[in-house]
Structure formats: C-alpha cells, structure tokens
Amino acid sequence: MKQITRPLLELKNVSYAYGSYVALNQVSFELKAGELAVLAGRNGAGKSTLLRCVAGWNEVASGQVELMGTSIYQAEREMRRSLMLVPDTPPFYDDLTVAEHLQFIAQAHRLPDWKTTAHDLLKRFGLVTHQAAMPGALSRGQRYKLALCMALLVDPPLLLLDEPFGPLDPFSAGQLWEDLWSRRARGKTMLVSSHQSPLDVQPDRYLIMENGELLADGAPGELKEALHASAASLDALLRATIEYAERGGTGQAGG
C-alpha cells in the first residue's frame, strides 16, 4: 500500500491585503519535513507578509495555512511549539540580559540540558562576551543573533527567518547557513526570506515572489533550466524570474 506523506506546511490560495493594497494574491505551496527553502523577491514582493501569515501573526484574508494538516488558527497554542518566526527587527525583554533571555525561554519551555546548548549558541554567534549586556546595548547584528539563538534554542520543527543575512557579518552568515543545514539533516524545516545567500551554497528550493504572487517554485537547477537563467544562483534566478514575469509569464515558472 502506498504511504501518503502529509506536507509539514501547506498554503492554499492565501491572500492578504493592507487596506486596498493586495500584499499576497492566491499564494499556494507546500513544504515537506526536512526541507530548506529560500523565499526570494524584490522589496515589497510580499515575503515578510507571507512569513507573518504562516506564523499566524497576520490573519489571512482568504485561503488556508495548515501545519501538519491543521489550520494554524484552529490549533494556535500547539503551533507555538511547532513553528517560530524571527522577524527582521526582533524586539526583546527590556529588563533581561542576553544570557537571561535564553535561560527564561528554556525554563518556560522546560527544556532539559539547556545550559550547554545555550552556551554553545552564544559562543557560535559571538555573544559570549555580551552575556551580561542588556539587548538595548547591542548592535543591530548582535540583536538579530540573539533572536536567532532564542529560536534555535527552542529548536521548533518549522523555523521561519525574515532576512537573516542582512544584519549579519559574512562569518556569522556562513555560520548560520551551517546551522540551518545541520537542522535540515535532523529533519527540521526552514523557510528563509532573503535577498542574498552566502556564496557557493544552495537551498533545496527557491520560492520567488513578485507583487504578492509566487512566480517560481523549484530546486535551483530546475529553475535555472525553466527560466533560462545564466546560473543557479539566487541573484541570477531572481533576475530571470522578474524578466520572465515582465514578458507576461504567469503561473509557476518552475517546480
């Protein structure tokens, strides 16, 4: 008997509007467990809105967002343990230090052996020397790293990252990419919105958006072929997709 594998995340015709401005228009795609997908697109394409809808921070105007077959709006509390979104400018607890942020979250989630993991995360992201600092004293990049440490400490099955490489230095960006791959190897799923990715690395899939619509969805190699792009890099695929759309192409270009 053929086994049916249910996708971890499924979006069905998701639309969202800010007043009269349509930010997302009938977006549909699936993500399987253990997939690392990059959501790409120009400024204002709808990437952040899409991530916020997936996380349940914005309620969709129409369509469905399902996590493991359940609508995120129906099983919201359970979802909090299953997915996490790190926004591009994350807020923090004003009166807790860097180390206390991780301690508090670990204790709230009753995580076992969290101290080693927390210390390891702080070390890898270069925050060990800032453990006693308040978040307000950190730079933008360090604040994003703290937010990443918080999410990685909880280690949810689905991790959503909004523009993670923008605030990070190249070394930390490479470190993060390694972390994402190691999570992928453990069967965890990630959806990362980005304009850029570290050199010489590719995700499993690219989802390319423009004007609130999903224009292309597929593996880098497949997309390169379908779009006749010069390379399978994010930059080349983004350019090829936009040119394709401007020529009047509709629907899914790849995948």
Partner: protein, 501 residues
Amino acid sequence: MNPLLRLRWKQVLGITNYWLRLVDYDTSDRDVMNRAYGVYLLIFFCWWTVAMWAIAANFMSEIGRALPPGAQDAFLMIAPAGLFVGQILLLVQALRSSPLKLSTPDISYVAGSPVRRAIPAALGFAGAVALPLVVAIAAVSFLAVALAQAAPGDVALGAALWSAIGVIPMVILAWGAAWVIGLLRMAIPNIRRRRWIWLAPVALLALLWIVPDLVTAPGRSLALTMLGQQEGLEWAVPMAIAAALAAAGVVLVGDRANLIAVVAESALHARLKEIGNLRWLAPSVYLRAKRQMQSATRRATLRLPEASGLRSLAGRAALTYIRDPLSLLKLGFAVALVLSGLWMLAYQAPFLLIVAWLYGVAVMPTGSLVRVFHADVDEPFLRQFLPVDPLRLLIADSAFPALLVILASTAVWLLLPVPLAASVTGIAVIVVLSFLLALSRGASLIPITLWQARVSHGVLSVICLGLTVGAGLLSSSMLVAVLAGTMVIGVLASLVQGSRG
C-alpha cells in the same frame, strides 16, 4: 542669552504649529479668512476653558457636599505629610540624574558657543517648572472647591483662588530646591562619583517623626487655605522669598555645573526628544523606546530565578519589577483606587462620588499592574516563546504587582480604626478589587474571541469594578460585593482564557 532663547522659542513655535495644523490652522498663511479662523479658534478655546472650568468646579462642589464628615480632617492629616514625601521624591529624582537635560539642538548650541552655563540652567528650570505649575494650580483650585464646601459661609471660590496663588511659590520652591541639589551634584565631581547618593534624601523622612510640625508646616498652611479655614496669604510670603532664593540658587549653582557631565546624562533625553510628537500620538511606542534606552545602560541586579514553567514566568515578572523600582511606585495609583473603592463600600458613598471614582478607574494610570503582560502579548515574536494560554500568562505576569497592591492596601486598611468583622471583609474586597483591576487591564490588551476585538481598559474596568461596587452599595453589604466581584472575575477569566492573545 538671546540665541538660546530664540532656539527655545522656535521649538515652542514648531510644536504649537503642529497642533494648530491638526485643527486646520496654518500659521504661515496670511490670508484674511485663515486669520479670522485663528481668532475664532482663540475665542472658542477661551470659551471652552471657562466652560470646562465652570462644569468641573460645579461637579467638584457637588462632590464636596457629598463628602462624609471627617474627610476634611483626614485631608488635613495626610496632605501635608504627602507634600513633604513628594519633595523628597523630587530630590531623589534630581540626584539620580541631572535635572538639567539638553536636547540635541541644545547640545549642538552649547558645544559650539561660549555660552554661560547659568543660561541653559535658568531656561531649563523655567521649562521644567512650567507644567507642574499649571497642573498644581488646576488641581489645587478644584480640590479646594470640593473641600471648602464644609467650611461655614460661601468661601469655596475664595479658597480656590488663594490656594491657586499660594501653590505657585510652593511649586517653585520644591522644584528649585531639587534643582539646586541636582546641579550641585553636576558641579562637584566627588558627589557625582557616589553611585547611591540619590538614596540620601530618603533619610529626610525621619524628620516626619523628629520635627513633624516644621516639615509639614508649608503643606499644612496650603491645606488649611484649601479647606477655607485660613484666609489671606501671609504664610506664602516667606515661601515666596525662599522660592526666589531657590531660583537664584539654580542660576548660581547652574553656572558651576559641568556641562560635559550634563550632556552625558542628557543622551537619553535628547534621543527621546527626537521622537517629537510621536510621544503624544503613540505613547506606548514612546514608553517602549524610553524603557529600552533606559535599560540599555542599566546594570542587571539580582539573578533570574531557576524555575520552570509558570514559576519561571512569575519569577521573570517579579525580577522585571524589582529592576525598575519606579514601576513599583506607580502601583500606588492602583492602591489608591482599591482603597477608595473599599472606602466607598464601607461608608456607603453617594452616587456622585461613585461616578467620580469610576472616572478615576477609567483614567488612572494603573497600567503598571500588567506591564510585563503587555510586553509579552504586544510582540508576537516574544509571545511565541511563551507556550501558555493568555489567562495563565496574565496570572504569572501580574501576580507579583497584584500581591504588592493587596499587601499595601491591606496595611493601610488595617491601620484605620475599623471593627474586626469589617477588617476581614475589607481584606476580601481588597483582594477582589485588585484582581479585577489587573484582569480587566489585561483583558483589554488582547482580542477577546467573543467579540473579536480589543475593548479599551477604561470601559472594561468601569464595567467590572462598577458592577462589583454597585452590587455592594445596592445591598449595603461588602460581602455581596465580594461575591459579585468573584463572579465577574470568573466570567472575565474564562473570556481571557478562550482568547487568541
């Protein structure tokens, strides 16, 4: 002095223009119709101010007539000591951080010119004392209208007038003394180096026991004038002389202040000033930015307790309050509301007083009761790290402040001469009112599933506390109020638990 005055004048004009544009008046437009509209606005504003003052004064006189006998004596007992404590708090504040604060344009001007240091100090003092002066005059005159109703003869208006005039030197003296002490710290490095110097004025509280008559004399004179038991302003003459000396002291000591240190301590103020009118348009954004900036340079005291689950949430909330003692002081508003509610139940207050109390419930800044919960539910990024339902989160986050409100209110209640049975029921009322206040505040921060939206805390608090106190007053029983309050808590708790916050 002129350039700095001009700069300050420009800033005032800029702010005024902004608010005038909101009512469609453009100060740069010289058109006759626009000017006529300006005159109309001015006349309307004057009429509105007089009308509002008359309505408020009438309302206060009604309240004054409804006050139970003994209220005036209680005011005379509490107000003078309260004013002395207020003076100490001003001294503490002036020693914690420079009272003279410079904005970014001020800093640029001061850095780029050979200005006498007394000039920014004098201008800063004038600016700092202006708003408290207006607020004090208004508050004192309205209170006097209410309190003087019990005095023989029609003395209420006279009492309001004398009190309003008498409070002017008092405010200038209070702020002037604080500024002189604060500026001394900025002038003498040895004082500045002592980190805990700001606690020193607290020792002055002992004077309330050693020489009570001396330290409460100014407050007592003002209180007697407000009560209509003292005519004329002879008592205010020495205070006016002292206020003038304090103002001169500000100029003298200000001329010796180290402006480099002043600029260093003005960083937060300067950055907050840059937020501009957002302070009034989005106060929550302003307060959040302020808290972040303040905490950025703060050294963490105590450690986050080792606990898990809900206890870790409660421990974190307590730590947050302890690390920001000012937020604990703000709980005093909640204590005042709870105690006044209990007092109304105990003494069967008349309808007008209940209306005034409910107005207080709606507008009093009791947000510090749910400060941590507010931060948790306001930011979805932080909320996703807390895997508990809204009710349990609200309980964990507001348990510590609610407990403090209950303890403080109970302590005051037990100090009052009430029979034992009333004491016990009174404590139950305190517990119920404190939880209701926290719960209705918390419920207003999340969208309740039943009506799919947030309801303003004013409306929710007035309904919940009004029902409780109303039930107690109608039945003339505090026990009924406790039962009604418990039921309201039950309903509100189930609504919060089922919400999507």
